[in-house]
């Protein structure tokens, strides 16, 4: 079974530039999450999708971050413009069922973003 796919693996940009990350969850997984993990901290939930609808985006900095999952499968997270404090690993994760089931998260390998 293929895992959660993320690309790119690494990205280096200058502040004020734009960047986009892509995630393809495990086939059939309805719930998709984007997390931001700053070095030395735990993953912070940015946005959660159930199929193509947003369930929770309360911690997404909406002035610069956006995400979509138009067909309920793969998802894109964008930052525009990037700031130095956005340097982090961006993790995509998915689960199979609804948002209140006790399933483990399947994580992608993450995208490590460095903003210079």
């Amino acid at each position: 079974e293929a895992g959660v796919a993320q690309s790119p693996r690494y990205k280096i940009i200058e502040k004020r530039q734009s960047v986009a990350f892509w995630c393809n969850p495990i086939s059939g997984h309805a719930t998709l999450y984007w997390y931001q993990q700053i070095l030395g901290q735990g993953p912070k939930l940015l946005i959660q999708f159930q199929n193509n609808g947003v369930v929770d985006d309360s911690q997404l900095p909406k002035d610069r971050f956006s995400a979509e999952r138009l067909k309920g499968v793969d998802s894109t997270l964008k930052i525009q413009p990037a700031k130095l404090e956005d340097s982090a690993v961006y993790l995509c994760a998915s689960t199979g069922q609804g948002s209140t089931t006790n399933e483990k998260l399947f994580f992608g390998s993450g995208t490590q973003l460095s903003v210079l």
């Binding site: 999450y33 997390y35 735990g42 993953p43 959660q48 209140t100 006790n102 998260l105 992608g108």
Partner: protein, 111 residues
Amino acid sequence: AQSVTQPDIHITVSEGASLELRCNYSYGATPYLFWYVQSPGQGLQLLLKYFSGDTLVQGIKGFEAEFKRSQSSFNLRKPSVHWSDAAEYFCAVQGTYKYIFGTGTRLKVLA
């Protein structure tokens, strides 16, 4: 509000010694509780989970955790630590819609 607290940022133990990592949660009902491990340069791996039933949960790699409702805790334990257990450990809580992680505890193992 739903939250997770891991009060210990760093823990150092000697190889062969026992280990307990603390996790406290805040949630209005009984949440689903998880422990994940992240080794350097690796992804997050699920160690164990609790959602109902026996409050002592067994996981992979010899880890176990005990859910204590009265203390809102879900502490992770291992009777004898191996050098390969050095990693960062995250407690996570799944309540209504949200899957929230603690800030993590970094474990160092001395030979």
